[in-house]
């Protein structure tokens, strides 16, 4: 957040129009200015999130995502699936660069997706179906005839960071969806499904329904391989979501079944609200302190440690949740101490203090009996939260020559023997000296 503020303050110097506001800025690109009314409730939702929204038609000449490598907006909503071009020269690379600079994207597709949009999505590991296809589900479709081909998607990923409302009450969740399907690249671990098809969901061509019967099942995207909504978080923690339906963002779908709805139900509006909150970095964002490492025997933090020292590793992690920093809640934060291979891998214990925005994760660790330059790696990668990777490189020394134990219990036989030999020598010499034979030999 501080970082975003910093960008803004730089930004303020030369953009007098936003002087009044220090809110994060979002840009919504819509097909034409007329379409604004269809999305009015969506825009209202965004504004409620204390985001300064700029709405531009795709044909607008002054569409610009960044200037001098500095993003002009924090978030971009692409609500124009059929757009063949954006402004005067925004291409796939511009959007990729926008994400590389830390910008978040809400990408909305639909049947009739343009090539530009399709290529843009594929950069993120999301492969949309051909433009002339749509998603059908004849077992779970909307009963009314006014909204043809609207399906009821209930296969929502239960992720408390992305969809907290759904995670709390998973039974009554349902999303109305009408549009195109996509699949995700299994090699790309940054993208994951949020709403998948149910077993009866398929993607079919518009013109010829009979083609469906001819096509072999492997050629048809269906079931849980078919994605409706996916989320993406890049390595620099910029976020994006890919939605294959424009309609589900529209006012009409927000109120599709208001009359039938019961209080605990989770429908399009709540879903979109949760999803946008996540994409706009208002949830699941982590911050952490520099890890504190010190020797437990004397509470001293050193540049390097010795083998088998007992140290305490502790790190404070805080999570941004709905506008405030709260202690990060997880019981699976692991620390690895590795030198090519992990020598120690252990789960850190979580402690919280009341009224603290941090949770402390710590553990007493006996360092490995191996010297070398070790990497203390805390890697916590979970869907929906900031990728956490904290590394500290710390050398571990062997014992110095005078630090080994002086008296070993195993060696007592040797000590005993040496003293036995000494005393035996003295005894035998005495006996010999005072023995009669010796005296005789002296006398002779």
């Amino acid at each position: 957040m501080l970082f975003l503020g910093l960008i803004l303050s730089i930004f303020l110097f030369w953009q007098p129009s936003v002087l009044a506001s220090v809110l994060p800025r979002a840009l919504a690109i819509i097909p034409s200015i007329d379409a604004k009314d269809d999305f009015s409730e969506l825009f209202q939702l965004i504004k409620q999130k204390r985001i300064d929204l700029v709405i531009e038609p795709s044909s607008s000449k002054n569409l610009k995502l960044y200037s001098h490598d500095e993003n002009l907006y924090q978030h971009v909503l692409l609500l124009c699936p059929e757009c063949k071009k954006y402004g005067s020269g925004l291409n796939v690379e511009s959007f990729v660069k926008f994400v590389e600079n830390g910008g978040n994207i809400v990408f909305v597709g639909d049947s009739g997706l343009s090539r530009l949009n399709s290529r843009l999505a594929s950069e993120f590991g999301v492969k949309f179906e051909e433009p002339d296809t749509f998603v059908a589900d004849y077992s779970n479709s909307y009963p009314g005839s006014d909204l043809k081909n609207t399906i009821l998607a209930s296969n929502l990923a239960s992720n408390k960071h992305i969809l907290p409302g759904h995670a709390l009450n998973p039974k009554n969740s349902l999303v109305y969806y009408k549009g195109i399907a996509h699949s995700i690249n299994s090699k790309n671990y940054l993208v994951s499904p949020l709403v998948s098809g149910s077993p009866t969901t398929i993607s079919i061509k518009k013109q010829s329904l009979e083609d469906l019967t001819k096509a072999s099942p492997s050629q048809v995207l269906s079931g849980s391989n078919l994605q409706l909504v996916s989320v993406f978080q890049s390595l620099n923690n910029a976020r994006a979501t890919f939605i294959g339906s424009t309609d589900m963002m529209k006012n009409k779908f927000f109120h599709i079944s208001d009359s039938l709805q019961e209080p605990g139900d989770y429908r399009n509006k709540a879903f979109i609200d949760d999803l946008l909150g996540w994409v706009f970095q208002q949830r699941g964002v982590l911050k952490y302190s520099k890890p504190v490492i010190f020797k437990t025997s004397n509470n001293v933090s050193l540049e390097s440690y010795q083998i088998r020292d007992e140290i305490l590793y502790s790190i404070e992690i805080s999570e941004f949740f709905d506008g405030k920093w709260v202690p990060f809640d997880a019981d699976d934060v692991q620390l690895e101490i590795r030198m090519l291979d992990p020598y120690i891998r252990t789960t850190l214990d979580r402690q919280t203090q009341p009224d603290s925005e941090y949770a402390t994760f710590s553990k007493k660790i006996v360092l490995p009996d191996k010297y070398g330059v070790f990497k203390f790696l805390l890697e916590h990668r979970r869907q929906g939260i900031t990728w956490l990777e904290v590394t500290e490189v710390i050398p571990i020394h062997p014992l110095r020559h005078n630090q080994f134990p002086r008296f070993l219990s195993q060696a007592y036989p040797y000590y005993a023997t040496s003293f036995l030999l000494l005393s035996g020598f003295i005894i035998i010499s005495t006996l010999w000296l005072f023995s009669p034979t010796f005296k005789q030999s002296i006398n002779i």
Partner: protein, 637 residues
Amino acid sequence: MVTSATIYKILDNIGLHVNIRDVCVFLAPFFSSLTAISAYLLTTEVSDSISGLLAAAFMGVAPGYISRSVAGSYDNEGIAIFLLVFTFYLWLKSARTGSMLYSCITALFYFYMVSAWGGYVFIINMIPLHVFTLLLMGRYSNNLYVSYSTFYVIGTLASMQIPFVGFQPTFTSEHMAALGTFGLIQIVAFTQYLNMMTTRKHLRTLIRPFLTLIVLAMVLLLSYLVATKKIAPWAGRFYSLWDTEYAKKYVPIIASVSEHQPTAWAQFFMDLNILIWLTPVGLYFVMKDLSDSRVFLVLYAILGSYFAGVMVRLMLTLTPIVCVLSGIGLGEFFRTYLNFSALDNPQLSKTTKSSNDSSNPQAKGKAKAKPTPEKTDANNSSFEIGNEFSKMVQWFTVFCITLLIGLFQIHCTWVTSNAYSSPSVVLASYDSKGNKLIIDDFREAYNWLTHNTPEESKVMSWWDYGYQLAGLANRTTLVDNNTWNNTHIATMAKIFASSEENAYEIVNDLDIDYILVIYGGLLGYSGDDINKFLWMIRIGQGVYPNDLKEEKFFNSQGRYSIGNDASPAMRDSVMHKLTYYRVADFMGQNGLDRARGQRLPTEVTLNYFDEVFTSENWMVRLYKPKPRDILGRVPPK
């Protein structure tokens, strides 16, 4: 290292302020001079000083030893060979005299040897073998008992002080022979003692069951300990000495080292030259007049030549004994052929001969001389002619042998200057006009690394270049020449042999910043990474049998090809790609790989790595793995 530091400090204290580097550079030559002296002492111990001087001279020039003792070769072997020869000298001396003092000094030098070189195992097996053979030959003496017992006890205790050895003498197979011999000599000594004290008859009844019992108990105990793994089995390196195929089958990493290959005959000739023929001569003279010490030489010669035949590196241990035996052989030769006194004064020689022969010289000499004076004259004249002739033969033979020695000297100088003096980092070649070209690609690349990469960056290469990278480029390496962890080396092999995608994962996991490969195809330098690649696969296969398969890297005709007809696994492997990336662009589509005489592959693509540096003659190529893609695209952009 301790040695050079000590020398440095001593020189510093007596007012000679020498750079520590100079001490290191001249350490090996200095110790080789000591080796020559100890070779003299060793030979004099068993023969006479003429042979000793010759042996020392041979020691000084034999290329087999010079390979490790040129100035600047700062290696353990440099001092180890001196210690080996000197320890053997001291041992022979102590065994002959039975002096406890000499045994102690032997043990001390043995201790020094243990601290200097892993080859100390040779000593600790050689000396017990000597003792054992002497016992078998019935040459037991109290001297032997005293010297061996003293040496074994002090030497073993001392060697256990070295951390690397630790308690190994008590439980590894390499040291068992010494322990067993120690036990045996105690029993033999005890028997001798009983022999002295009791009569023969009593002894028999007493000793037979007793001895059988002890031997039986020892054998049982040993087999039990070996079976329960209490005694560590022989290390792979030692197995390969008995079964030359062993290493290739089970420990490819040992077999992959060129120094561990069986020795070629040409190598013997190059390193030893005429000494090869002189050795049997020396051996003959040694056998002819056998003594306790000479048995040792025979044993050493047999074992040494066997080991040298198995492993190129062990040529080093063979060289001293070859020099000693050649010295003895040549010494005997010169003693016979340069002895003109017998010819110059036949009368004298005759009388001396007869005087030697008979117990009553005067009477016999007179009796012989008086009756036939004419005959003696006639004899004398024929003797004169024969004398002249044999004198000529003598001179001729001596001349020939001296010439041979002179030629040997020239050969040694040539070998030393051509094969052993040039550093392996800088190569030299000659163009068609005979001008010398210096190929300095290694240092060029290492300098580039020093000046253009962050200090903490990690460079991956095959382990041969680990020390060079650390020393010349001052960069961290993943494996180097002293890596004991076979898995790490196998992991490097796996990276080189897998496809780009799989290798990229491992490379990222290990935080590798740069990858270095050696390519000799442009120069015709055959020691490059592609030629080592098969060994890498074999080594990797031992640890990752599921991921690496040697046969996949041969093409459909079963050949180890690198061009367009290479096998798919070969063409996909990172090593092949890094080596041949852009080479065809430079050499032309019909270009030839000069190290292998094959056509170059024409289409080599590289998606996960960026070329960052290629040296002047394309010998050293450096690559950097692309940074992880921020959007997770495969391959990264």
